[in-house]
């Protein structure tokens, strides 16, 4: 017996037992992947910090590159103003929409499905261009048609009715793209909030409005604040909207400034760009900290187990205005800009005086005849599919290892590293990748490889959050049952956990695919004529002033994105139904 238990003891440490050794092989691959990813994240960052702050030539310190302090402060002030106002509005409208959809009889359940995915349906770059075509001072459709309408009614106006190239225009488009983040936060908090809290308030004599103010709002306040921080985190790193609108409006915005310092200057002012980039890092860190504090301090009363029936607030006569408001947002965020893009793309050139008889698809033919543009689409799709697939799979694997691991220290370190790029922001990562990989010894400038690596790093945080939540939805006992049934870790992963995580992973894959295919931030810095991607093609056509062709291109891209998103949503809904 003694001898037998000795051999068994030997097996634990991986000597001679086939099953245990296979487990170690699985563990070794996961560990290698973790180390590789950690290096890919950490080394370029360490490298750029060293380069800029220690290895610079005398007199070329990053602070010297900044130029006048006043100009730098203007950038920061502009950015905070735009982001601040947009975030406050987003918090107000996002929470309002969430409350309307979750707690009142507004009865627009389709809106609650569409709202959170608006940034995925019409990518910000396409939306911004659409809005420029709608509301630019002279040729914007709203301005020209609106004026004609007023003239028809006998009202004379001076100047444009609306102007997208203005503070309010810029804030408006930021609002469109930050609102869904707040909505998602608050709506899910409301969904998890025990409705009996509100019922108790109603039974105890408070009206719907008083209940909202005294009970509902305080209960979801953590979610509202965290929605606000998320919209700031998202907004500060957003490049496409200010690239299209702010530059022409003469408003210097942080994200654009950083990219310009890297791309429009020769030699690139990496030091100054990095200093600005560090501002973003600080803002994101502070916002993340606030968010964690708020969430951990929250005294949530959430529903346990079975979903409870919510008594909906009757809106009465307010119902129709409320519906109009929701519908108005969806219109303004998707249908209006997309319709405008499509309309402009059919014209010979962008004008509000449409000759309906001469509309044609000529630009579509030109765009796809143009090897640069079609290569861009092809590259983006290839990169998006491969990076989304690989990253999603790898993060699923790592999430599984972290789920089963008992080593909290290592698990925590891996989790921190994988989520680090979210804090560092895509702009700084993009810079770090240029400095690290563009020149010697890698010479990856203008290749798909550098884009592939940067994309993988950039979207790791989202992927690992999705993977952890996908695995959290699979009961722990299902994994334990597999172990007890004699399955090694690898077998448990491939036969049990991976198939069960699949619905969550598929949804995550879609999100990654759309974000990757529409990426502009990293692409603006890392892609050149040799490796065009969708984002850089749009930006190029835009700066060239080929408005009708860019509209055609953006239309095609939006259709591709929206059909992928809707198809996968449909598939994953069916998948979840089946496995229940």
């Amino acid at each position: 017996m003694q001898a037998l238990s000795q051999t068994m003891a030997g097996r634990v440490h991986g000597i001679g037992n086939k099953r245990v050794r296979r487990g170690n092989w699985f563990a070794a691959i996961s560990a290698a992947l973790c180390i590789f990813l950690a290096m890919l994240i950490l080394v370029p960052i360490a490298n750029i910090l060293y380069d800029v702050f220690w290895a610079h030539a005398p007199g070329a310190s990053p602070f010297d590159q900044l130029g006048s302090a006043k100009a730098a402060l203007t950038v920061l002030a502009n950015t905070s103003l735009v982001l601040g106002v947009a975030a406050i509005l987003a918090v107000f409208f996002g929470s309002l929409f969430a409350w309307l959809n979750e707690r009142t009889d507004v009865e627009m359940s389709w809106a609650s499905k569409v709202l959170p995915i608006i940034p995925l349906l019409l990518p910000p770059i396409a939306g911004s261009i659409g809005w420029v075509m709608l509301a630019s001072d002279r040729a914007g459709l709203l301005n020209v048609w609106g004026k004609r309408l007023l003239e028809f009614m006998g009202i004379q106006t001076d100047g444009p009715l609306v102007s997208i190239f203005s503070w309010s225009g810029l804030i408006f488009v930021y609002l469109i793209y930050t609102l869904p983040h707040v909505y998602l936060c608050v709506a899910s908090a409301l969904r998890n909030l025990d409705p009996s809290l509100e019922e108790a308030s109603r039974v105890n004599g408070a009206g719907p409005l008083k209940t909202l103010v005294k009970v509902t709002l305080p209960a979801v306040l953590p979610a509202i604040i965290s929605g606000g921080t998320i919209s700031i985190i998202y907004g500060i790193a957003l490049f496409s909207v200010p690239a299209i609108i702010a530059s022409q409006a003469g408003i210097d915005i942080l994200a654009v400034k950083i990219v310009n310092l890297m791309m429009a200057e020769f030699p690139p002012k990496t030091g100054a760009a990095l200093l600005f980039g560090l501002v973003i890092v600080v803002v994101i860190s502070v916002m993340t900290w606030i968010q964690r504090r708020v969430i951990s301090s929250g005294k949530f009363a959430t529903i346990g187990g079975k979903g409870a029936q919510v008594t909906l607030v009757k809106l009465g006569w307010v119902r129709w205005p409320a519906r109009m408001l929701l519908l108005g947002y969806i219109l303004v965020a998707t249908i209006l800009p997309f319709g405008t893009l499509f309309l402009v793309s059919l014209q010979r050139f962008w004008t509000a005086n449409i000759d309906w008889s001469r509309l044609s698809f000529r630009h579509y033919l030109n765009v796809f005849g143009n090897s640069f543009a079609s290569q861009g689409i092809l590259n983006s799709l290839t990169l998006a599919i491969s990076v989304a697939t690989v990253v999603m799979f790898v993060t699923a694997l790592i999430a599984f290892r972290m789920y089963t691991s008992r080593n909290w220290l290592v698990t925590g370190a891996i989790d921190f590293t994988l989520k680090l790029p979210a804090t560092i922001s895509n702009l700084v990562i993009g810079m770090a990748f240029i400095v690290m990989f563009a020149g010697a010894p890698f010479y990856l400038h203008g290749t798909l490889t550098i884009l592939l690596l940067a994309y993988a790093v950039l979207y790791l945080p989202q992927a690992s959050i999705i993977a952890s939540s996908a695995i959290a939805q699979v009961g722990r006992q299902l994994q334990e049952a597999s172990s007890v049934a004699g399955a090694s870790e690898g077998k448990t992963f491939f036969r049990i956990m991976f198939p069960l995580m699949l619905p969550g992973l598929v949804a995550g894959w879609t999100m990654l695919f759309v974000l990757l295919a529409g990426d502009l931030t990293a692409s603006a810095m890392l892609s050149g004529t040799g490796n065009p991607v969708i984002g850089s093609v749009i930006l190029n056509l835009w700066t060239e002033g080929s408005f009708a062709p860019v509209a055609a291109f953006a239309t095609v891209v939006s259709i591709i994105m929206a059909s992928v998103v809707l198809t996968v949503m449909w598939i994953s809904e069916r998948l979840t139904q089946r496995s229940r």
Partner: protein, 364 residues
């Protein structure tokens, strides 16, 4: 040779405020082949942690666990076999059936992990499906079958490999009362037929009594008593065990003997006790413990001077018996009567308890 043996198993964990909690506190236990041991205790007493430690899903802080004479865990020799090498079956509280695999595939899984050939797997699965009378479900998915059926599939999966030790983690707590009764009988028949050793966790004493060859009452991470169901009920070793298993009447009083006559003197009267219960105690303060069914209640004036006079404050008809709450001063006694007419609240009654059914525990 004992099939499962635990030696000084201890599991310590630390709360966020740094407080040390002993989920399992120095537990030693020996289980022979073919025994059906039920770990019975209130929730949070450590019984599930103990079971999961045997399975290898939890890691004790110290001690050793051996299955069939082989150490699967031994803290001093730094042995801790992963669950997949321990060769035991387990039925989980949530059944833990894999929703993406059919019933047949769920049951085949442990055999496939063994590396069995496809034909051998199929024939063994068919065999166990027939034994459990669920062959008609083999192509269904877990979400398509009832709770009781899921329970059978979970049991079939645990038994299919023919392991000699099967663990049960409150497997019947999710099915309704009728099905539970039925499954309990079936499970017992299965265990007698196949002869596996069972370690079964529950907080339901009826379940424990109905299944166990021995019940281990677990409290605060320790085994308070391990014995046959009857002895646990009739001769609890501690107040803790008596209070947890079944209903009791706890009466505080002073032990006194005059000649042959041993009594507990209380504020409300005296209770006769048998010499065995005294067990060498002197005159001291004690708790007299008795079961509701060992009391009798009558409206007739008694002959015996040990009868207490009280008033019924509640009478509840429960089918097989009627429960009376009888008040003596500020003391309430629960009494179960199986026959006779229903006595109304307010009725004044005479009650007494059989001396041989009174157990004594020291106070303090």
């Amino acid at each position: 040779m004992s099939d499962l043996s635990l030696r000084s198993v201890t599991k310590v964990f630390y709360r966020k405020d740094g407080e040390e909690v002993h989920a399992i506190d120095n537990v030693s236990l020996d289980i022979k082949q073919g025994e059906f041991i039920v770990l019975l205790g209130p929730s949070g007493c450590g019984k599930t942690t103990l079971l999961r430690s045997v399975a290898g899903l939890e890691y004790p802080s110290s001690g050793s666990i051996s299955i069939g004479g082989v150490d699967v865990f031994n803290s001093s020799r730094r042995i801790s076999l992963p669950p997949e090498t321990r060769r035991l079956g387990m039925v989980f509280q949530s059944y833990a059936l894999w929703p993406h695999l059919s019933v047949a595939d769920n049951i085949a899984y442990p055999l496939q992990m063994e590396g069995l050939r496809r034909a051998a797997v199929t024939s063994r699965v068919t065999e166990i499906l027939e034994a459990m009378q669920i062959e008609h479900l083999s192509k269904q998915f877990p979400s398509q079958i009832s709770g009781g059926q899921q329970q059978r599939v979970a049991l079939a999966r645990a038994l299919v490999r023919g392991d000699s030790l099967i663990l049960f983690d409150e497997p019947l707590s999710n099915v309704d009362a009728k099905v539970r009764e039925h499954l309990r009988v079936e499970l017992l028949a299965m265990q007698r037929k196949l002869g596996f050793t069972a370690l079964y966790v529950t907080h339901d004493q009826h379940e424990a009594m109905g299944l166990a060859t021995k019940i281990a009452v677990v409290a605060n991470g320790r085994i308070a008593q391990i014995d046959t169901p009857e002895r646990i009920y009739r001769q609890p070793k501690s107040l803790e065990v008596a209070e947890f298993v079944g209903s009791i009447n706890k009466i505080s009083g002073r032990l006194s003997s005059s000649g042959d006559c041993i009594r507990i003197k209380t504020k409300h009267g005296s209770i006769p006790v048998s010499p065995e219960a005294v067990a060498g105690r002197k005159e001291q303060e004690v708790f007299a413990i008795s079961r509701p069914e060992d009391w009798s209640v009558s409206t007739e004036t008694p002959v015996s001077e040990e009868s207490w006079r009280g008033e019924i404050v509640a009478s509840v008809f429960l089918g097989a018996h009627t429960e009376y709450i009888v008040r003596f001063g500020e003391l309430n006694i629960v009494i179960w009567k199986h026959k006779g007419e229903l006595l109304p609240p307010g009725q004044s009654v005479w009650c007494n308890v059989k001396p041989e059914s009174v157990a004594l525990f020291d106070q303090g």
